[in-house]
């Protein structure tokens, strides 16, 4: 009978993706509450030392799969290798982080077991052995509790930030077991990853960030937000639609495809708070949201909220802060 939890470890040329530690934390919680052991799997080529590092966490073992065709990520090679690992390890759950890479090969892997993934979960709850996963639906406007009574293995992915990397507990040293896999034809040929522009702006060290979203309506209105940022001695940032429209350069973008920040003060102006944006800023100390929609998901994580017209609030706020500062 299938048992145990297999957690997928992601890396870029041996550099660990920190969300994999969140996946370990999720697997440890699931394993602890359902009484199952946890294995981790590292795919790569010449990445033995990463497998050794992972073995430092509280795990039953680490499976290390070394293959030349796993040196660069492709969905064909990863799905094929993982399929063999999952069949051999026969776990009840396969736990992964909902990263861009997992979104690319995970569904392909799950399909080989006749199912999809329970994807992008933000929580899980175990009660009397029954596991309930919670996903966000409708772009974060609603939550859905999801269960599955399908045959093992179940494939589950967790949203970045659902667990903290420092929740992954260390152990006494797990054995690293090499495993052989066959990888056939790989149809996708990857070129080297690159960055479009050198990040000219590093927002990760900013103390104050004033960010604008769709609600700012047009490019000229950004000056209003800039004025507020100036008064606060902060930096200007934006959600994705603003950078897509080229109203601000891409190195000002906050979120999963942009920068991750945690300033002392984050002011979100006309940003509804799509998940992709929230993951990039939710660890900010104090979050302020001004939005006309009282249901906007940004208010779920805001300390202070103003529901109303941004263009009424903004000039007043700038003036008031100027007064307080002088």
């Amino acid at each position: 009978m299938s048992s145990g939890i297999l957690v997928f470890i992601e890396h870029k040329s041996g550099a660990l993706n920190k969300t994999s530690l969140e996946a370990i934390a999720a697997a440890q919680k699931l394993g602890g509450e359902t009484g199952q052991s946890i294995m981790a799997v590292v795919l790569g080529s010449g990445n033995q030392s990463l497998a050794q590092d992972i073995a430092g966490y509280d795990l039953a073992k680490v499976l290390y799969i070394d293959h030349l065709k796993l040196a660069d990520y492709t969905p064909d090679a990863y799905a094929t290798a993982m399929e063999q690992v999952v069949r051999a390890a026969d776990p009840q759950y396969v736990v992964m982080s909902h990263t861009y890479l997992v979104r690319d090969f995970g569904p392909k892997l799950a399909a080989r077991f006749g199912k999809g993934m329970i994807s992008d979960c933000i929580r899980m709850n175990v009660e009397a052995g029954k596991v309930t996963f919670t996903r966000r639906i409708f772009l974060g406007k609603l939550d859905a509790d999801v269960t599955s009574d399908a045959e093992a293995p179940l494939f589950v992915t967790f949203q970045s930030g659902a667990f903290r990397p420092d929740q992954a507990t260390k152990g006494g040293g797990a054995p690293v077991e090499p495993m052989q896999v066959e990888v056939g034809e790989v149809r996708m040929k990857p070129e080297a990853p690159f960055q479009e522009v050198k990040q000219a702006v590093d927002l990760s060290k900013a103390d104050v960030i004033v960010a604008v979203g769709r609600g700012i309506k047009n490019k000229d209105n950004i000056a209003l937000a800039e004025k507020l940022a100036e008064v606060l001695g902060g930096d200007l940032a934006a959600s994705r639609p603003i950078c897509d429209a080229e109203w601000l350069p891409i190195d000002r973008q906050i979120g999963s495809s942009g920068q991750t920040v945690a300033p002392k003060l984050y002011i979100a102006l006309g940003i509804s708070g799509a998940i992709q944006h929230l993951v990039g800023m939710k660890n900010s100390k104090t979050i302020v949201a001004i939005n006309k929609d009282p249901e906007a998901p940004i208010f779920d994580i805001a300390d202070y909220g103003i529901v109303g017209d941004l263009f009424e609030a903004l000039p007043v706020l700038t003036e008031e802060i100027k007064k307080l500062k002088s």
Binding site: E191, E196, L265, Y304, G305
Partner: protein
């Protein structure tokens, strides 16, 4: 090149969502619907490729009769014909079941390229496209932001995390899932709307055996998100008053000024 675009109809982005009385989904009566955002970009990319290299753009949507509005809009923008997989509940299928039904419906089209959005704006599984590629035996790429289809092989630019990108090359036929916001979506012209009336919409029944299979994941309960923070709402509907209060709170409580 024959390009097939999968488009899903979802609740309008600005619609106020009410939870149904069983708390299993939203109340769909009186709701306005639109195409899932990233699917709109998939259609735009398909039309641009057709303009460059010639061929045909076929739109496929799966859903109740109301999904016809998505199909008609796509035809008005320039798609050549459409396939509608009609069923009242097919919009609620798990990603594996949805991909299986779609595979049956489009297999005989033998498209060179299949495109869809990276995830739907309702369930947000982000999997149907990739699973469809696997079922049809096609290579795929996800979160694509640029496509070069002028050569014998397909070359696509994928978005990675934290501002990184990567080009991939793969043989045709292939399947791509498209990121939102990568182009300016065209509007339907009056001429396009008129021309759309003569375009073929083929209705297809979903494979009942797949639709009736038990789902491998089931929604037990839908509810408003639990707040991770207790938000202090300021101004009581008066934005200017809220701004004055906010400045004061930022100084005295949050101590960031």
């Amino acid at each position: 090149m024959k390009i097939l675009v999968l488009m899903k109809q979802v609740a309008n982005k600005d619609a106020i969502l009410r939870i149904n009385k069983d708390s299993t989904w939203i109340e769909e009566a009186d709701l306005s619907f639109e195409v899932s955002e990233s699917d709109g970009y998939a259609l735009e990319e398909a039309l641009r490729i057709k303009e460059k290299v010639g061929g045909e753009v076929v739109v496929c949507s799966m859903g109740a009769q109301r999904a016809k509005s998505v199909i008609k809009d796509a035809l008005a923008r320039g798609a050549d014909r459409a396939i509608h997989v009609v069923g009242d509940n097919v919009g609620h299928l798990s990603p594996f079941a949805a991909a299986s039904v779609l595979a049956d419906a489009i297999r005989e089209e033998r498209a060179d390229l299949i495109m869809t959005g990276l995830q739907s704006d309702d369930y947000g599984y982000g999997q149907t496209g990739v699973i469809l590629a696997e079922i049809l035996g096609l290579p795929h790429a996800t979160i694509v932001i640029e496509i070069d289809a002028t050569g014998d092989e397909l070359r696509v630019k994928r978005e990675l995390e934290s501002g990184w990108y990567q080009w991939y090359t793969m043989p045709l036929p292939a399947l791509l899932t498209i990121q939102s916001g990568i182009s300016q979506i065209r509007y339907a012209t009056l001429k396009g709307i008129m021309a759309a009336k003569k375009k073929e919409i083929k209705e297809v029944a979903p494979n009942a055996e797949i639709v009736n299979r038990p789902s491998h994941q089931r929604i037990e309960k839908v509810y408003l998100p639990q707040k991770s923070k207790q938000t202090q709402f300021l101004g009581g509907g008066d934005a200017k008053k809220g701004a004055v209060e906010l400045a004061e709170k930022l100084r005295t409580e949050a101590r960031v000024i």
